[in-house]
Amino acid sequence: MTNTTEFINHLASKLGRPTPTETPPPVEISVPQYRLSNTEERASIFLQNWQALGGKGAIVKSDNDMLQCLKEWFGDLPVTWFKDNPQALIAWDMLPSIAESAFSTLNWPLTRYTQSSLDPRDRYSIAAHAELGITGSDLGIALSGTIVMNSDPLRGRAVSLLPPRHLAFIETTKIRNNLFEVLEEISALGTPPAAIEMISGPSRTSDIEMDLSIGVHGPIEVYVVVTDN
């Protein structure tokens, strides 16, 4: 164990000057960034890129659209899941209202992750045994087909991680052009949350003979509903 001052002073001596007392002036960065002209375009490119990564996605404009979309994707599966596991759908405490009302109309009861148990290990186990994890998202990135989620006491990071399927909701207006804009927006909020998760498609690996294989650890199927109102 070395103390910090000693460690830092050693570096300063290697650099041949005392450690600056103020933040060095930031370097100039000027790379032309990827930009789309409007929200609609961003939503459609986002979706296209998300699908190219192997995710499923749709833009919904009404409550009815939403119902149709969920039915089309999951059909009667949730009903089958519930037979074995009443906690098959695990979700954040709060989802966008259009999603909340769709689930109640469909009568697919949601288990709220944070309230599912007091013991974290139990919660992990519940999430791991769930069939579908359901979350919102704070931001999206059109260029890379990415959803961005900040951690929060009412959420739970495991919801988008442990179940074999992950369904996320995002509003069209939350989709940004590129990573730069997203990082800028997050840093404007001050201290970042404990975790910011950026997810681009399903879990993948090419570690065996460079053969692409989906779902080694994280979700195998990923779904995004882009809501446009």
Binding site: P120, Y124, S200
Partner: protein, 471 residues
């Protein structure tokens, strides 16, 4: 661990005789390289991104003391335990203590090159903790007891059948060798471990100084598992792995994902600003950051090699290197292989006897330099390492003599002319069909696999002189 006991020559022979390895290396590097080209071309201004990347890295390294201090302050302010390790042994000791204090039985690891650099697993296992590598590639080589053969695709050298054979004893039943089966096996097998893990150890792709954040990218999601589920997390970072703020992070993440695998962003990019808020329902309660020096400060103080610290460990230089292409990673003998491995290993380990061969694992073709997203002049650094080795007297006597003779002759054109005439005579016994087909060492190194042209009866300088005297 066999390859650690072989000589360089034996490792090279072994690699060259391994056809699967060589084919797999070709296939993998071709794929990664082509993906990278697609991902860099689509930006339309890759060179500008590279410039930005280089500028940022140089700025960080030139102010490393400031940014590290800032990072440490930010971290400690929030209750993260920051540990500074001068040496690999220090770092191992620190991690060992944490594991012991928590009496941890199960340690989960997501990919960390630092843990390879300090040879961590072995030490923890000695203490009786089960260490599980959770990255599929790392898991495979952990079972096989081998070091990574590629910085991004560590088990590139294994066939699916070999992987199936390695998994079978763990599965307790036969496994078919198709990738989906193998992947599914790992998913199920690893699930248990994730849910039970006591301590998570992760690497760190970037640390953001002004927010005190750790950025980690993975494609499998194991990095998220390891940083979400265990109650205690340890992150290992090389002390140079810093960006000033989120602003620069954008550039670096783009360069990394695009150069490493040709993705626009990796499947999972996680920015941790630990520890968890008390009301958060998951994430580690206790967070340790171990910052490793291991002679990085020496490199920092060495103007000739400082740029070596700019590396973002993307592996792009591996994928264009014609030497790596023929050998794969194990022939290098070092934890870090490929061009950047040949540069940093001698600098980190400071042992010419053991690592003196590495600067010569390059034809100096410059492909690495051309491919590096942060413009590290890798092939120049390799030449400079050869220079260091030569100047510190670690090159063979014969070689020194040869270059003395070279200097003598090649500064005296007329004398050289006479020497060439002599050579034209001496070569006769070795000439067949106007080609030289044999000769004494070190010439024989060439003639074993190639012929040489004959020394011309008259060198050009003589021919020219003769022509002009006639005029």
């Amino acid at each position: 661990m066999t390859m650690y006991n072989l000589t360089t020559d034996q490792r090279v022979d072994k690699a060259l005789a391994d056809n699967f390895l060589r084919q797999a290396t070709r296939r993998a590097t071709d794929r990664l390289r082509n993906n990278k080209y697609k991902a860099s071309d689509e930006l339309g201004n890759w060179e500008e991104w590279r410039n930005a990347g280089e500028t940022i890295r140089k700025h960080v390294i030139a102010n490393l003391d400031f940014y590290l201090q800032q990072l440490i302050e930010q971290m400690e302010k929030r209750g993260v335990h920051v540990h500074l390790a001068k040496t690999p042994a220090d770092a191992v000791g620190i991690v060992r203590n944490i594991v012991r204090e928590h009496d941890a039985k199960s340690v989960l690891k997501s990919k960390s090159m630092i843990s390879e650099e300090i040879h961590l697993n072995h030490a923890l296992e000695e203490d009786g903790a089960a260490v599980v590598e959770t990255d599929l590639g790392e898991y495979i080589i952990q079972i096989a007891g081998e070091p990574p053969s590629h910085i991004i695709v560590p088990a590139m050298h294994k066939t699916r059948q070999q992987v199936a054979d390695l998994f079978e004893p763990i599965a307790g039943h036969a496994l078919s060798s198709d990738t989906p089966t193998l992947t599914r096996f790992v998913r199920i097998q690893m699930r248990e471990q994730f849910l039970r893990g006591d301590i998570g150890i992760t690497g760190c792709n970037f640390a953001v100084a002004n927010t005190g954040s750790i950025v980690m990218v993975t494609n499998e999601g194991n990095g998220r598992m390891v940083s979400t589920l265990p109650r205690v997390q340890i992150t290992l970072m090389g002390m140079e792995r810093i960006v000033p703020s989120f602003r620069e992070l954008d550039i670096m993440l783009n360069l990394l994902a695009r150069s490493a695998t040709g993705q626009r962003l990796s499947s999972y990019t996680t920015i941790l600003t630990p520890p968890k808020k008390s009301a958060d329902s998951d994430g580690p309660e206790e967070y340790h950051l171990v910052i490793l020096d291991h002679n990085r400060s020496e490199i920092l103080g060495d103007k000739l090699f400082r740029t070596a610290l700019n590396c973002i460990r993307c592996g792009a230089c591996f994928n264009v290197c014609p030497v790596y292409r023929q050998l794969g990673g194990h022939a290098y003998g070092s934890v870090y292989s490929g061009p950047i491995g040949s540069v940093i290993t001698p600098l980190l380990e400071k042992d010419w006897k053991k690592w003196g061969h590495l600067p010569y694992f390059s034809s100096l073709c410059g492909a690495c330099t051309e491919g590096c997203p942060v413009r590290i002049p890798l092939h120049d650094l390799l030449v400079k390492l050869r220079m260091r080795k030569t100047q510190s007297g670690h090159t063979p006597q014969v070689e020194q003599q040869i270059f003395k003779a070279y200097r003598y002759l090649f500064t005296r054109e007329k004398t050289l002319r006479r020497a060439l005439r002599l050579g034209a005579h001496l070569q006769r016994p070795f000439v067949r069909n106007h080609r030289i087909t044999g000769g004494p060492a070190p010439l024989s190194n060439w003639t074993k696999s190639r012929t040489l042209p004959m020394v011309a009866p008259k060198p050009f300088m003589q021919i020219w002189a003769d022509l002009n005297n006639k005029r």
